[in-house]
């Protein structure tokens, strides 16, 4: 018998797993869950990219990173080259590598993912940024000649940071205004330490400052200064103030002690470092039985924070079923691994508390079943009559989305707002109805993701640069 001699087939490399803290350990500490890739693992993972001629991953990236390009440089061991290439399109690679939903963006389109697991683009981006931060030389990307133009960016979240990063490289002078006492917006007050260490956010902000961006903290535009006053000092203004208005359930008993909006719960824990009380001065209720209402990423962050603050039980209470959870699959998975219990198809009716002490003691809920699809295409949850039941809790975190904070928009005549109070802006350019004012991120679209806000920032910065250069 003869065997046909085939060309030796290249051995298939499996997707490299990022080492991470075991669930039972990490559920009790605030350190980051995954440790990151080593250079060896990163180079091996980078080899999996087949460098498509017509790469589809690019179409999934709102900030148009040259994905095959930076991966090829990692493969070649040129880590500095890889971060330089990333910086051309993204001022926040260490953040994006951690919090972007890659599975529905770049990685979701990766051709390797057709038959195998897609290339770990997010993990590689994170590697390039982390390697630069920890081991890299003190380098900065080149800046264009100064134009003398003045740009004000209101809000230091992902949209604003993208605008600032883009326009400073194009030679304009950029000043950012932040209402809180630390830069980063939702990256700092919202996303927990274990998912995005604050040191990394500050390092990315510091990168912008080294490029020349000025950041004015504790400046509440709309109160300390109005947009019109900014327009007198700056050529253009970008509004990226986020959707910082908490939404409550509007059921009885939301005043009891221990009922928090997710914004408050996470701000106390993250920005104010209440998890380190009394070393830090801001307190937080360390509930033993905590229920988080909602099924998005913020809800997962809250439920996982509750565990780390010492909760024995941490529930997610969500009115639809598992399939409809809006959170990233990875976040749901992490929460489940850590022991968060999901009470699905469950709707809260009222909170119960002790009227002498004011303390929350429980929540009455109603079970639901899935009915006909609603306008969103998802099957509408329908209450099951008589299925009321009680859950004993001492802390509740309401995480059912957020609305448009009117503080800035109310004090800015000439802006056009939609019926929910969000700013009307051209989806292609971010231009608002008010001359010389652009807007982007959650204050335009409502609550979305970090990367979508960054994408909006990119579109706006292109348009702002055109205006500053050509006058249109």
């Amino acid at each position: 018998m003869t065997e046909e001699v085939k060309a030796p087939k290249k051995e298939k490399i499996p997707r490299q797993k990022m080492p991470e803290q075991p669930p039972d350990v990490r559920a009790r500490n605030f350190q980051e869950v995954p440790y990151g890739l080593t250079p060896e693992l990163a180079m091996k993972e980078a080899e999996r990219c087949i460098q498509c001629k017509d790469p589809r991953c690019l179409q999934g990236c709102p900030v148009e990173i040259d994905i095959p390009g930076f991966i090829r440089l990692i493969k070649e061991g040129d880590f500095e080259g890889s971060i330089r290439l990333l910086w051309e399109k993204n001022a926040l690679p260490a953040v994006c590598g951690r919090v972007c939903p890659q599975e529905v963006q770049c990685e979701g389109l990766c051709i390797i993912g057709k038959k195998d697991e897609p290339v770990a683009i997010g993990n590689l981006e994170r590697f390039a940024a982390d390697h630069q931060r920890m081991h890299g030389k003190d380098i900065l990307p080149p800046k264009a000649e100064p134009t003398g133009k003045q740009v004000a960016v209101v809000g230091t979240g992902p949209a604003g940071l993208t605008v600032a990063g883009d326009l400073i490289l194009k030679g304009h002078e950029v000043t950012m205004f932040e209402a809180l006492h630390a830069p980063g917006g939702v990256l700092v007050y919202g996303i927990p330490e274990f998912r995005l260490p604050k040191e990394i956010v500050f390092s990315e902000c510091n990168y912008l400052e080294r490029l020349g961006v000025k950041i004015e903290l504790s400046s509440v535009i709309g109160r300390s200064e109005t947009v019109d006053e900014l327009l007198a000092r700056f050529d253009v203004v970008f509004l990226g103030v986020g959707a910082g208005l908490p939404v409550f359930l509007k059921v009885p008993g939301e005043h009891y002690i221990g009922v928090y909006s997710a914004n408050e719960y996470l701000t106390r824990s993250n920005l104010m470092k209440a998890y380190d009380f009394p070393n830090y001065d801001t307190p937080i209720v360390r509930g033993k039985k905590v229920a988080t209402f909602g099924g998005g990423n913020v809800a997962m962050d809250s439920a996982r924070t509750a565990l780390r603050l010492g909760a024995e039980k941490s529930y997610i209470i969500y009115r639809r079923s598992h399939a409809e959870l809006p959170a990233r699959t990875a976040e749901v998975h992490h929460a489940e691994e850590e022991g968060v219990e999901f009470l699905l198809l469950t709707n809260p009716l009222r909170f119960l508390g002790d009227d002498k002490t004011g303390m929350l003691t429980g929540v009455e809920c109603l079970r639901q079943e899935l009915g006909e699809p609603d306008a969103s295409g998802r099957r509408r949850p329908v209450p099951i009559p008589g299925s009321e039941f009680m859950v004993e809790i001492d802390t509740a975190v309401i995480s059912i989305g957020s609305g448009a904070n009117p503080l800035l928009t109310k004090s800015t005549p000439g802006l056009s707002l939609n019926k929910w109070g969000y700013i009307v802006a051209d989806p292609k350019t971010g231009k608002t109805m008010k001359p010389r004012v652009w807007a982007g991120g959650d204050i335009v679209t409502g609550s979305a993701t970090v990367i979508l806000a960054m994408g909006a920032g990119r579109l706006a910065s292109n348009s702002m640069h055109d205006f500053l250069t050509f006058g249109w």
Binding site: R223, S224, P246, I257, S261, F277, P278, D281, P406
Partner: protein
């Protein structure tokens, strides 16, 4: 950094007055508005309503009572020291208008918040009756300033050491009884005092403004910690207030929510006092 240029201890050291360099805020601030302060990196964000401003010198006046760790820490700051953050002006300014005759009632540190509003009402051409009170004569603050800002001033002390022996509510009731044409009451002080005042003004059908002090975090309407129920609706004191129609406020709910962190606040304060006593703190070393 926001430097303290003048510091005064009042009410036997239980209340502190600071004039702080904050030119941008001083230029913008209006009566009734507040700032948020942080003493250092680990500090809480503490809201304080401004007691006065001096826009020409770029200064704001903050008067606070020492009630816990954060205010005790503030007390250690001397002239030349700085607050790490002063954020503001926040909240809605008082709606000052001419109504004719008004009555301003202040208790304890509430008098500090009441003063710029009283002055504003007088400047608008109102005839101003003021009632100010404290537990004892030594604890009464801002009497002189309130006299210049009012047409008539009545003083009350719980122990009878000065003025009327009794609560401010006695004089409030007496004045409303005597002057049926009073069109507005402004009552600012501890929650039980404001609640009691509103009970009286309600009986007389007098519109009543109160300034609420719920627990806050960001002060920009982002977290909802300072939610209060006014007229059956959820309001955020930091952006919708801090002043509200006192006759509509759910006082019992506010009273409960102010107790949110009593135990934790004690832990924090005890720890501070222990370090303070051992001379490990900045003010002792």
């Amino acid at each position: 950094m926001f430097e303290i240029v003048e510091r005064q201890e009042m009410a036997q050291g239980t209340i502190i007055s600071n004039w702080v360099k904050a030119p941008k805020i001083a230029a913008k601030a209006k009566p009734g508005q507040f700032v948020i302060l942080r003493a250092n990196e680990k500090g809480e964000r503490i809201p304080l309503t401004m007691a006065d401003t001096d826009p020409a010198k770029g200064l704001i006046n903050l008067i606070y009572m020492v009630v816990g760790k954060s205010t005790a820490l503030f007390k250690t700051l001397q002239v030349g020291d700085s607050y790490l953050d002063v954020i503001g002006p926040l909240g809605q300014p008082t709606h000052l208008e001419k109504v004719g005759k008004v009555i301003c009632v202040g208790g304890g540190t509430g008098i500090a918040v009441l003063y710029p509003i009283t002055r504003g009402l007088k400047q608008m051409g109102n005839y101003v009756y003021s009632v100010i009170g404290a537990r004892s004569k030594d604890l009464l603050i801002l009497e002189d300033k309130m006299r210049t800002a009012s047409d008539e001033v009545m003083i009350c002390t719980d122990d009878g050491t000065y003025g009327h022996h009794g609560f401010v509510t006695d004089k409030l009731k007496e004045t409303l009884e005597k002057h049926k044409d009073i069109g507005l009451a402004v009552c600012i002080g501890p929650v039980p005092m404001m609640k009691a005042c509103c009970k009286i003004t309600k009986d007389y059908g007098v519109k009543t403004l109160v300034s609420l002090n719920p627990i806050m975090v960001d002060g920009t309407g982002m977290c909802g910690c300072c939610r209060v129920t006014v007229g059956g609706k959820m309001q955020f004191a930091c952006v919708d207030g801090p002043e509200f129609d006192g006759l509509q406020v759910d006082w019992d709910e506010l009273t409960l929510r102010l107790r949110s962190y009593l135990e934790l606040e004690k832990v924090s304060y005890d720890q501070f006092k222990e370090a303070h006593g051992a001379g490990k703190c900045k003010c002792c070393s």
